[in-house]
């Protein structure tokens, strides 16, 4: 047989490609459920490690059953729209909740282009009874996506913990955002500057007495700056529930009751007008 004829070549390559594609399709559909489960587990793990749940001495506990921990520590999940309004509150079956299913990448695109938002928020109770809110963030690093979770304590400004991950930052440089020495710096930082709400600053020597600053990574200025931007962009929307809920607790004495009521009224009017 002439293996160099055009007909033979075309038939040969077609058959080969169809066979290979069939094998890959079968294997892919067989392994898909396991792969999705792995990705979900990873997401649950990140959410909890941000709030220091399931950690031993600041390191992930290798033996922890993260899906059990997730269901026993998370108390509710919901999504925020671009006006900072809550919706889709889930108090059980969190893995199926809208917040958990939300795709951070498409949210990031919506933030950039001003579309409709469904920003996920998780609320959890720690082992010591403390309430925390966990906020995801997502942005563009130097080479690819960077994302992470930031947990904020019940006072709505002190950071309980943070965790970050990246798709393809340089190992040893930008990739260090995923290392404990870097994200553990966020613990106990305050989302406040001069009494105003402020996102975290990631700057050279940022930790020097700056309550909302952490040290940038040397040799990875662009990744550090991108992470700062990513957190700030997302915090801009989360600010709505972080600052609003502080004001709505007059007992804390932050705002005189009358003013708070006025503010509340103004807010109600605004939301009526918006409708």
């Amino acid at each position: 047989m002439n293996t160099n004829s055009n007909t033979y070549t075309i038939i040969y390559t077609t058959v080969l490609v169809v066979v290979v594609a069939a094998i890959l399709a079968i294997v892919s559909s067989l392994l898909k459920p396991r792969q999705i489960a792995n990705v979900e587990l990873e997401q649950m793990k990140s959410i909890m490690l941000a709030a220091n749940i399931g950690e031993v001495d600041g390191q992930p506990d290798k033996t922890a059953k993260y899906d059990e921990l997730f269901n026993s520590h998370i108390t509710s999940t919901y999504v925020l729209n671009e006006k900072g309004e809550k919706s889709d509150v889930a108090t059980e079956n969190f893995k199926e909740s809208k917040a958990f299913k939300a795709d951070l990448k498409s949210q990031f695109n919506a933030i950039k282009n001003g579309g409709e938002l469904t920003l996920p928020v998780y609320e959890a109770t720690l082992d010591n009874g403390e309430q925390v809110k966990i906020f995801p963030c997502y942005g563009a690093g130097l080479w690819g996506a960077i994302w992470g979770y930031l947990a904020v304590k019940a006072d709505n400004k002190t950071i309980q913990g943070a965790i970050f991950a990246h798709a393809s930052e340089t190992p040893g440089l930008g990739g260090e955002i995923a290392s404990p020495w870097f994200y553990n710096q966020f613990d106990t930082k305050v989302l406040e500057s001069d009494g105003q709400f402020a996102s975290v600053k990631i700057v050279k020597g940022g930790a020097n007495g700056n309550p909302n600053g952490v040290d940038a990574i040397s040799g990875a200025s662009i990744t550090s700056r991108s992470l700062q931007t990513a957190i700030a962009q997302w915090m801009d929307f989360y600010k709505a529930i972080l600052t609003a809920s502080v004001e709505s607790i007059p007992a804390m004495g932050l705002i005189p009751v009358e003013e708070a009521a006025e503010a509340q009224e103004a807010e109600n009017n605004e939301s009526v007008n918006a409708q």
Binding site: T3, Y12, V17, R34, N38, E42, G172
Partner: protein, 210 residues
């Protein structure tokens, strides 16, 4: 099953014809995945499986492959095995898959595989081709493991994630020891690889260029 001449098939790639240190193939991934021993072992195993099975398949098909499209046909077969390994790792060893990230997919472009198929599998029977592919993968793996052992031990003080250098030796715990940060950066892998080539050529003088 292998006669005397065939013994070269598995002896050569491990030492005298090592794909990395002598043929200088597959350097890129050997720099990228040798920060930790675990990653290096999985990578070595993956490359060994891919070279062995794609050599076997190409050798089985060798008389039917149209000559003009043989590189494409080889690529399709290699890609099939690489994607299978990638999918299996994602399903059963997610952490390793994350650690190796793009480098599993990049096995497709590993010069060793295409090199062995072109140079050996296309002209030899399936069994010797399989053995040749496997031992070339192992030859690659040996170097990966050597470099990764040094890098993980000196760079992180652990091996396969287990602590080898006691915590109490470290400066922050009042000791005298510090991890060598240079070890975890890619340039150090190249320097270590250079050292391996140097040792290799010192042992086997035949390899030295005149």
């Amino acid at each position: 099953m292998l006669n005397k001449m065939d013994k070269d098939i598995y002896k050569k790639p491990l030492f005298k014809g090592n794909p990395i240190t002598v043929l200088v193939l597959g350097i890129c991934s050997s720099l990228a995945v040798t920060v930790q021993l675990k990653g290096a072992l999985v990578m070595a195993l993956s490359v060994t499986l891919v070279t062995a099975f794609s050599s076997l398949f190409i050798s089985l098909l060798r008389n039917t492959i149209p000559n003009r499209v043989r590189i494409i046909v080889q690529l399709v077969v290699v890609a099939l095995f690489v994607i299978l390994i990638d999918q299996v790792l994602k399903a059963f060893s997610y952490d390793t898959s994350k650690m190796l990230s793009v480098y599993i997919g990049l096995i497709i472009t590993n010069c060793i595989i295409m090199g062995r198929i072109e140079a050996f599998a296309l002209g030899n029977k399936p069994w010797p081709s399989f053995v040749d592919g496997m031992f070339n993968g192992l030859g690659y793996g040996i170097i990966l493991v050597i470099v990764a052992t040094v890098r993980e031990l000196l760079g992180s003080g652990t091996l396969l994630g287990f602590r080898i250098i006691p915590e109490s030796w470290y400066v922050q715990n009042g000791g005298f020891y510090m991890n060598n940060g240079l070890m975890i950066l890619p340039p150090m892998a190249l320097i270590l690889l250079g050292c391996v080539v140097w040792v290799h050529r010192t042992i086997d003088k035949d390899l030295q260029e005149k």
